[in-house]
Subunit: 262 residues, 2 copies
C-alpha cells in the first residue's frame, strides 16, 4: 500500500483506538484537508464495523490538524441488521480536532438504481477544462489531479463569476481507484464556492455531512459544487460526485464560515 | 408555555443532563417524529451554550423513542469565539435512542443576504393546496397544519407521481411562531418523498443533518422536499424551508431506508 492508501491507514491499538500518521501531502496551507481527515475517520469506523462502507459521515471540525501522529477513537453506538453506527473522534496532542457520527453498511456493487435524478449538465469534457497543475513541491495539489471548468475559475484572476458554483474532474495522481475513502476526499476537494462571490482566503468548514450512495466505478469522478445562501458570515456548499458510468456515488453538504474580507 | 414549547421543554438536571417528557402528540404510528426529537435535542444544546441558535444539527437515529420521560445528555466538545459544539444523546429506559452533533452560534436577525439562490418554484398558493386536515384524535397531524401541493399527493390514492418530490405549507396549530425548534420540526415533517415512487409504509431515517440559516419571520413556512437517488434500499431526501418573507431559513438532508415492499 502506498500513496493515498498508506496516508489514510489506521492501526488498531486496542479498546476502540486506532493510530494514524497524518501525511503532510494533504496540507492546504497550514491545515490538513478536511476530506483527507474524513477518509482517516471513515477507515477507522469501517475497521471497527462488520460492514464495508461508510454510508453516512457527519463531521464537526474543531481545530486544525497537522502532519504527524494522531489517534482515532471509535465508540460503537448501535449495531443493527443493516447498519452499525459509531461516534468517532480525531485526537492530536491531547486535543480533539474533529468529532464525527459515522454509519456503516454494506452497499451492493451490483445494485440497480430504482430511481435517479439526472446528472447536472454543463461540465465540459476533460480536454476543455483547465490543464493539469504542475507539481507544487508538496501539498494537496500534488496528490489530486483536478481539471476545472474554466468558466468557474475567473476568481483566480480577480473575476469571480458571481455564482457560487465550481465544477471539475477529479482523480488521485497515484492511481488509487475510486473507493469510499477517495469519495471522502473528493467531497471536500473543490475550492470554496464562495470564491466566486468575491470572497478571498480560508473558509473553514464547521460541519460537513456526506453520504456514500454507491460503489464508484474506476475512472475520473465529476464534482459539482454549489451553494444556496451566504449570510451573516455563513455559507453552505453542496457537492455531488458522479462516477465514470454516470452514477451519483456521493453527496455532501457543508456549513462553513466565509472568509472575513468579504 | 404550552403546546409545542412545553412539549419540547428540557429541565437542567446537573452535569450536562437535561430531563424531558416526550409528548404523545408527536407520534406517527408508534414512533415519535424525528423532527420533534431534534427540537428537544436542540433545546438542550442551546440551554448548555452561550449561543442562541442551533446552526448545525446532525442526528443518527438508533431506536424508536416513545412518549414519556427521557434524558438528554449534553457534552461540550469545543467552544470558540463564533460557535460552540456539543455531542448530544437522547436516552430512554437506559438505551440511547439518538446521537447528535450540534453546533450553536448566534444568528443576527437583522443580517442581510450577501447572496441567495432563488426559491424553488411551483408551490401553489395556500388556497389551492389541500384542505386543512380534521383532527385525528391525537398524534402528529393534530399538531401541525400542513397544506400540500395536490399534484404531489397522488400516492394517497395509489397514483404516485413518479418523482420523489413533496411540497407544502407548514405551521404549528397552537400558534407557536417559527423559531429554531419549529424549523427542526419542519425539516422532518413531510411524508417521505419515496411515496411518490410507489413505496408504501414506514421509511426510517438513519441520518439527518439540518442547518438553520436565518431567524424565520412570523407566518407560514414553505417546505420543498426532493430526493436524488433510490438504490439498494437507501434514499436521500432534501428539504428546504422558506419563510414568509421568501428567505431560505433551513436546509436538511436525510439518508433513510426505503419501505421494504418496494
Amino acid at each position: 500500500m502506498s500513496g493515498f492508501g498508506a496516508a489514510t491507514a489506521v492501526e488498531p491499538a486496542g479498546e476502540g483506538r486506532y493510530g494514524a500518521v497524518l501525511d503532510a501531502g494533504y496540507l492546504i496551507g497550514e491545515a490538513l484537508n478536511g476530506g483527507y481527515l474524513m477518509a482517516v475517520l471513515d477507515r477507522a469506523a469501517v475497521a471497527a464495523s462488520p460492514h464495508a462502507h461508510p454510508v453516512s459521515t457527519a463531521v464537526t471540525f474543531h481545530r486544525v490538524a497537522v502532519p504527524g501522529p494522531a489517534e482515532v477513537i471509535v465508540e460503537p453506538r448501535k449495531e443493527g441488521r443493516t447498519a452499525a453506527t459509531f461516534r468517532v473522534s480525531l485526537v492530536q496532542d491531547g486535543r480533539t480536532a474533529a468529532d464525527a457520527l459515522i454509519t456503516t453498511a454494506t452497499l451492493d456493487p451490483a445494485a440497480g438504481l430504482a430511481w435517479t435524478g439526472t446528472a447536472p449538465t454543463g461540465l465540459p469534457p476533460l480536454e476543455e477544462c483547465t490543464e493539469p497543475r504542475p507539481p507544487t513541491g508538496g501539498g494537496f495539489a500534488d496528490q489530486v489531479d483536478m481539471r476545472f471548468d474554466r468558466s468557474m475559475m475567473g476568481w483566480l484572476d480577480g473575476r469571480p463569476s458571481g455564482r457560487p458554483e465550481i465544477r471539475g474532474w477529479f482523480r488521485l495522481r497515484d492511481g488509487h481507484r475510486p473507493d469510499a475513502y477517495a469519495l471522502a476526499l473528493a467531497v471536500d476537494a473543490l475550492p470554496p464556492v464562495v470564491l466566486n462571490l468575491g470572497a478571498r482566503g480560508w473558509a473553514p468548514t464547521v460541519e460537513l455531512t456526506w453520504h456514500m450512495r454507491a460503489v464508484p466505478a474506476p475512472g475520473w469522478l465529476a464534482l459539482h459544487g454549489s451553494g444556496r445562501v451566504l449570510s451573516d458570515g455563513w455559507f453552505d456548499e453542496d457537492v455531488e460526485v458522479w462516477d465514470s458510468t454516470g452514477r451519483l456515488v456521493a453527496q455532501s453538504r457543508q456549513l462553513a464560515r466565509a472568509p472575513r474580507d468579504r
